[in-house]
């Protein structure tokens, strides 16, 4: 579904990504793990068209998208839930969700969109209670759910999730990961960026480890979890096998 082929992305003269390649197949959850500044967010931004790579290609659904702009790429069925939620704080929850379907209004019509809003409320009950509230007044966890829900409103084939558990209480993190597994059941392919590597590897099929803009390791989630080096670096060094 998604093929990233040797991309390098620069901020001015600084190389943030160096010849990165990865694949995401239909129906998979793939996670990207790595320390702060390893280039995870840059990679997602390059895939979704917020940044453009200097070399290399991004191919989505057998279409080359590395030169396309973000607002065009979302129309192809890729939804990027950005880091730090980025909900529209001065708009209501309902308005945020409606705008999530902005790219579908002319294609699918309002009726389908209202039905999807109801479906999303089924997944995130708290948002229905808050639907007339301004998004900026929600708690961090609620905003994160709104950000994911807004991303779902585009009916994506592929979802890019950037640090959905960042800064949230453990219980809410659990809830977020529950939703991620539920999304996969409904057939959404997910590329998940997480600092919480342990939790991410638990839900993912495969993973890639990014370090200083390089992919240094990749493989099945179970293999990565078992890898000693990786455990030391990202999983807190515990090797009791329970995770």
């Amino acid at each position: 579904m998604l093929k990233v082929d040797g991309i390098s992305t620069f901020y001015g003269h600084i190389r943030a990504l160096n010849h990165v390649s990865l694949d995401v197949n239909d129906g998979e959850i793939v996670t990207l793990i790595g320390a702060n500044g390893a280039g995870k967010t840059t990679l997602l931004n390059t895939i979704s068209g917020m940044l453009h790579p200097k070399n290399g290609d991004v191919v989505f659904d057998s279409k080359k998208i590395s030169r396309m702009r973000a607002e065009q790429i979302v129309r192809l069925g890729m939804s990027h839930v950005p880091e730090r939620r980025q909900v529209f704080g001065s708009l209501t929850v309902l308005e945020n969700l409606t705008l999530g379907a902005y790219c579908r209004v002319s294609r699918d019509g309002w009726k389908a969109i209202y039905q999807d809003i109801e479906k999303v409320f089924g997944l995130f009950a708290i948002l229905e209670k808050r639907k007339e509230q301004l998004a900026g007044t929600l708690s961090g966890g609620e905003q994160q759910m709104l950000a994911v829900a807004r991303g779902l409103m585009a009916k994506p084939k592929l979802m890019l999730l950037d640090e959905p558990s960042l800064g949230l209480a453990p219980l809410i993190v659990q809830e977020i990961f529950r939703i991620i597994t539920e999304l996969r059941k409904s057939g959404t392919t997910i590329l998940l960026v997480e600092q919480n590597a342990r939790a991410a590897l638990r839900v993912a099929d495969r993973g890639y480890v990014l370090e200083n803009g390089h992919v240094v390791m990749s493989g099945k989630a179970a293999e990565l979890t078992a890898d000693e080096q990786l455990q030391k670096a990202y999983l807190g060094g515990r090797s009791n096998g329970k995770g």
Binding site: M50, R69, A70, R75, F88, G89, L91, L99, Y102, C103
Partner: protein, 310 residues
């Protein structure tokens, strides 16, 4: 001590004039919120809208008297075309001036709009000369008497239409998809792009909308005060002051700011001297900039102004 009739009169004419500032300030806020640009050609849109409407609806000499326009079309048609002309110029300004310079600093883009306003003023001067023009009032008839003050029919039109325009604009922003997209784009441009909202398209709509709004303001006020080629500059500055009074990004604040500005000006002119009219406006500007960087309405401190590079 002025009589209460005199005060009422001054306040009424202040509100009439302030309505126009409010509309122009709303144009400023719309463009600023969506594109981050403070558009100093806002007042020129009002002048162009008014001149086009005047030319189409009554007899006017053009190009130094080399051409006479005597179309005498009905006013609504003329007004509509006046608005359309301003919208077209707004769109061209965005496409040719703002969009190509979108990676430049906000200050450079402001300079682009100042340049455009000088150019537009020059064009208006070429076409219509220096003569003042006045649009015929929308309806004939004797003025109303309100608490001893005289309220002309055109003043009623100005206030009434201002209310209609402001309410429509708010409904547009609140209930239409484009309106919501514009608000999203100003709340978080990056996230808006991820929703598929094209920021260039939003910028274009903001410029078109603001130009149209200013043109409407120019047309409704043209029967009250004479329109001259150089009125745009003052209208821009007054609208800008009203916008700052309202806190730069707040449309409600801009409307309130415009009305307060109109009333203060009118009181200053009536009670002190008409020579001080503009002096008061700019005294207000200085005071607001120095004392309450967040504007009158909300307690937000200068964050918005910092973003504008002011």
């Amino acid at each position: 001590m002025p009589s209460s009739e005199q005060l009422a009169q001054l306040i009424l004419s202040g509100i009439t004039q302030g309505s126009i500032y409010a509309l122009i300030a709303l144009g400023f806020v719309t463009i600023y919120n969506v594109t981050g640009v403070i558009n100093f050609s806002q007042g020129e849109f009002a002048v162009i809208g008014a001149f086009v409407a005047i030319t189409l609806s009554q007899k006017v000499l053009l190009w130094h008297g080399q051409m006479t326009a005597s179309l005498e079309w009905p006013l609504p048609v003329a007004a509509l075309i006046g608005v359309a002309a301003a919208v077209l110029i707004g769109v061209l300004l965005y496409r040719l001036g703002i969009q190509p310079s979108r990676n430049a600093s906000p200050l450079s883009q402001i300079v682009v709009t100042i340049g455009a306003s000088i150019a537009l003023r020059g064009l208006v001067l070429l076409a219509w000369g220096t003569d003042p023009y006045r649009l015929t009032p929308f309806t004939e008839g004797p003025p109303f008497d309100l608490m001893g003050a005289i309220l002309t029919r055109q003043s009623v039109w100005v206030m009434g239409l201002t209310v209609v325009f402001v309410v429509s604009l708010f409904l547009f922003f609140k209930y239409t998809l484009i309106g919501k997209a514009l608000r999203a784009s100003s709340a978080n441009p990056g996230a808006a792009r991820l929703m598929g909202i094209n920021p260039q398209w939003m910028g274009l709509i903001a410029f078109a909308l603001s130009a149209g709004l200013s043109a409407l303001a120019g047309i409704v006020v043209a029967p009250v005060t004479f329109m001259t080629f150089d009125r745009g500059l003052m209208l821009s500055l007054k609208g800008f002051v009203a916008m700052i009074m309202g806190g730069l990004t707040d449309p409600v604040g801009a409307v309130v700011g415009g009305l307060i500005l109109g009333v203060v000006e009118s009181l200053a002119a009536g009670l002190i001297s008409s020579g001080y009219r503009d002096a008061f406006t700019f005294a207000i500007l200085v005071v607001v900039l120095l004392v309450r960087l967040g504007g009158f309405i909300k307690g937000r401190k200068g964050e918005a102004l910092e973003r504008a590079g002011l």
